[in-house]
């Protein structure tokens, strides 16, 4: 289906050119040279494909087994099935263009085809992944020339199987948390990449040991394993795996039909919410006016509203009651201006105790489960603990680096501006306020990270004292990273890297201070004597200085506080 008309577009283009030729002003404007725009975005996905090629090559070189390389490809493709499912569901039901498409006189079935076609196009990079992975394997084992031709149908079939799996999941199990699964997979991938020196060898050994099982259990392996048939005749029974693959492929039609039948995109109309009454004394609780409709939302009488306003109750912060110990300390520490900023950034109140209780509870559960599992299988225990530590650390980091509404984007006049900038809130005051919010949570962060390091030490047989020290140092670095993240927060709503003139000094600054931060962090990590604490302190200072220098540029108006889209 085409939602545009090439003939009309050609005619329009010609008309515009003619109009420009006729008008001297338009001719002059046309001649104005626009600076060339560069974007690294198109390189992102091909880089991932290249990374897969590297992973497959590394797996085969280290283990000497092509089946291990295939298993790496299979795991990769399996993970992408969830990403594709999430993409499919988002494109079908939450895409930005749906609001416009539903207003146009287009049948739901056509909108469905249009959206599904977009997903198919997006999934072509998965085909490229499979081709590159198989190509790397073929090169590695020196596959004869004629057999290279077989790689294309294998990759296409595996890609089709991936699509069929995504369609099946989207049609039958749309409620599963694909977004969460995709995020966890992405974060795990990044974690493995960052800690490849430590995690790489055991993971590769695991994949090598269970390569056959992985290729048989995970659907993409059913087809990609056909590659083994090309290498040795003893792998011929692998062809039988085409049977389950064929069965899954056969479900694609039914899945599409099921999705199409239930596809009726329309504007979501929510029930009107009830009135929000500011905190009042129990004897002053306003009552709802009588309504003819029995299920009408709670509404307060205008006379009562007037009374509430004149009593100034609406001016009291909504979080003035029910503060826990930490929140109360933080509130008392705030200056009056910071209290105003707190209301702006966290209108429902800044919670500390409840989220940290959840973090520490999850940590305790994760550790308990990991140690229970380790009695049966040490490797399963280690994996569970690793996963629990990653999840808990991310949760803790999210709480510590929370910025509330301060950096929410507002779109107006074709640009996006952060909320704080629209209300004239200063760089210094906002950074002070947010840093205070982080600082007050450091004891809880330290408890959490020391718990994490103690649990890790138990597995790695490190002394507890060293583990505690590492946990404490990690807390200091996480706190220092608040300065770096604040700079990123401010930078993300500006055009500070839009031109070479602005980007080069900023990049230099980030490389200089960021490099120093990493070096100091590394020094503090590996050195155990008291000098390591000096490195810790210097790293904090370094991050602070970076933020201060950026703040000076910000205040001197070296860039705009808005992201200006490219022409």
């Amino acid at each position: 289906m085409k939602l545009h008309s090439p003939e009309f577009e050609t005619k329009l283009r010609r008309g515009i050119k003619a109009a420009v030729r006729r008008s001297p002003v338009l001719r002059k404007n046309r001649k104005q040279k626009l600076p060339r725009q560069y974007s690294l975005e198109p390189l992102g996905r091909p880089l991932l494909t290249t990374a897969l090629g590297g992973l497959v090559l590394n797996a085969v070189n280290v283990t000497g087994h092509p089946r291990t390389g295939l298993a790496v490809m299979t795991i990769w493709a399996f993970a992408w099935i969830f990403v594709r499912t999430q993409n499919l569901l988002t494109t079908l039901f939450l895409a930005n263009d749906l609001a416009a498409l539903t207003l146009l006189p287009i049948a739901d079935a056509d909108v469905f085809r249009w959206q599904v076609a977009k997903c198919y196009r997006a999934s072509l990079m998965s085909l490229a992944d499979l081709l590159v992975g198989l190509g790397v394997l073929a090169l590695n084992i020196g596959l004869p020339g004629a057999q290279w031709l077989a790689l294309v149908p294998i990759a296409v079939l595996a890609w089709a199987l991936m699509l069929a799996c995504s369609l099946l999941l989207a049609a039958r199990y749309p409620g599963l948390p694909y977004s969460l699964v995709s995020s966890v997979l992405f974060v795990s991938g990044v974690a493995v990449l960052m800690l490849r020196g430590w995690l790489g060898p055991p993971i590769l050994a695991f994949v090598d040991r269970h390569a056959v099982a992985l290729n048989v259990l995970l659907p993409p392996g059913w087809v990609s394993s056909l590659f083994l048939v090309l290498t040795e005749p003893r792998y011929r029974p692998v062809i039988w795996m085409l049977l389950p693959a064929g069965l899954v492929l056969l479900t694609a039609r039914g899945s599409l039909a099921r999705l199409r039948d239930g596809y009726h995109p329309a504007e979501a109309i929510a029930d009107p919410p009830p009135d929000v009454v500011p905190d009042v004394a129990p004897d002053e609780e306003p009552s709802a006016p009588k309504s003819a409709e029995p299920e009408a939302p709670f509404r307060v009488d205008p006379v009562v509203i007037e009374r509430i306003i004149l009593s100034r109750r609406f001016l009291a912060p909504s979080s003035s009651t029910g503060r826990d110990w930490f929140e109360e300390r933080l509130h008392r520490w705030f200056t009056p201006r910071e209290k105003a900023l707190a209301e702006f950034a966290f209108p429902d109140g800044f919670a500390i105790v409840a989220p940290w209780t959840a973090v520490l509870r999850n940590l305790a559960i994760g550790i308990a489960v990991a140690f229970l599992l380790s009695t049966a299988s040490p490797s399963a225990g280690a994996w569970t603990l690793g996963l629990a530590l990653v999840v808990v650390s991310l949760h803790a980091l999210g709480q510590l680096l929370a910025t509330g509404n301060a950096f929410s984007g507002i779109s107006f006049g074709g640009v996006t501006v952060h909320a704080y900038a629209a209300y004239g809130i200063g760089f210094g005051e906002l950074t002070h306020f947010l840093f205070k919010c982080s600082l007050v949570q450091v004891p809880l962060l330290a408890v959490c990270l020391m718990g994490c390091s103690l649990a890790a030490a138990r597995l790695t047989h490190w002394p507890a004292a060293v583990a505690l020290q590492l946990g404490l140092k990690a807390s200091v670095f996480v706190l220092a990273s608040r300065f770096l993240f604040l700079m990123i927060n401010f930078s993300s709503g500006s055009n500070d890297t839009a031109t070479i003139r602005r980007a080069v000094p900023l990049l230099g600054l980030v490389l200089l201070f960021g490099g120093a931060f990493l070096a100091l962090a590394g020094a503090a990590w590996y050195v155990t004597n008291p000098a390591s604490w000096l490195a810790c302190f210097l790293a904090v200072l370094d991050a602070y200085l970076l933020l201060r220098v950026y703040g000076t540029w910000y205040n001197r108006m070296r860039f705009d506080l808005m992201a200006v889209p490219s022409p």
Binding site: V25, L310, F314, L315, A421, A422, I425, G428, M557, F559
Partner: protein, 244 residues
Amino acid sequence: MDIEFRDVSKSYNGVPALDRVSLRIDPGQIVSLLGPNGAGKTTLLRCVAGIAAPDRGAVYLDGEPFRRDRLDLRRRMHFLPDFPFLFPDQSVVRNVAIVLRLFEADGDGAEERVLALLGDFDMLPLALRRVGSLSRGQAYKAGLIAMMAADPEVWLLDEPLASGMDPHGIDAFKRHARDAAKRGRTILYSTQLLDVAERFSDRVCVIDNGEIRAFDTLETLRERAGDKDHVLEELFRHLRESQA
């Protein structure tokens, strides 16, 4: 507060939005910014608010060069975009309260100001309603009430007359703006409605292709045009003809 542009130029991605703009706005005036789409009206407002940084020249407020760390100056003005930033899960009065506190205007008498404004804009029955459940015009009124209750010295408004407000709301806005100007407040607003601008401004600033084509009182513009009616329409027609 005096607002002065001295030789201000600003471009986006190489496309000029303001080109060597110099003008001075005295306090106590209602100034309408007029010009075709993309002429530079919103950029001019953003430069005063500190959101856009001039590539060249500077904005002076009360004779002092404007920098973003001059919070004393920034708190004396309020920028209201055509889609104001409001907290959708909070009620109208909570949104107003947050703005009042940010502008340190929540002292004695704030409650009466807020009540009067809610009444004038027909928003009293909606005062405890979540902003996210309001129509665009009602939400804009909420933003406007918050700004007016804070009563800053400079009101910067982007297209307030095309914000979805009903005629009663527009009338209330004009009345309050006129009263505020009498109290020495400066109201700088952009609009495309020439007939409204003719009746509701002390000075008119016409921008085209980033250049100021006219910045005068309506009387002066009328005199120049030979006392013609609809002087702004004439001015725009003249602009188009000179470009063609």
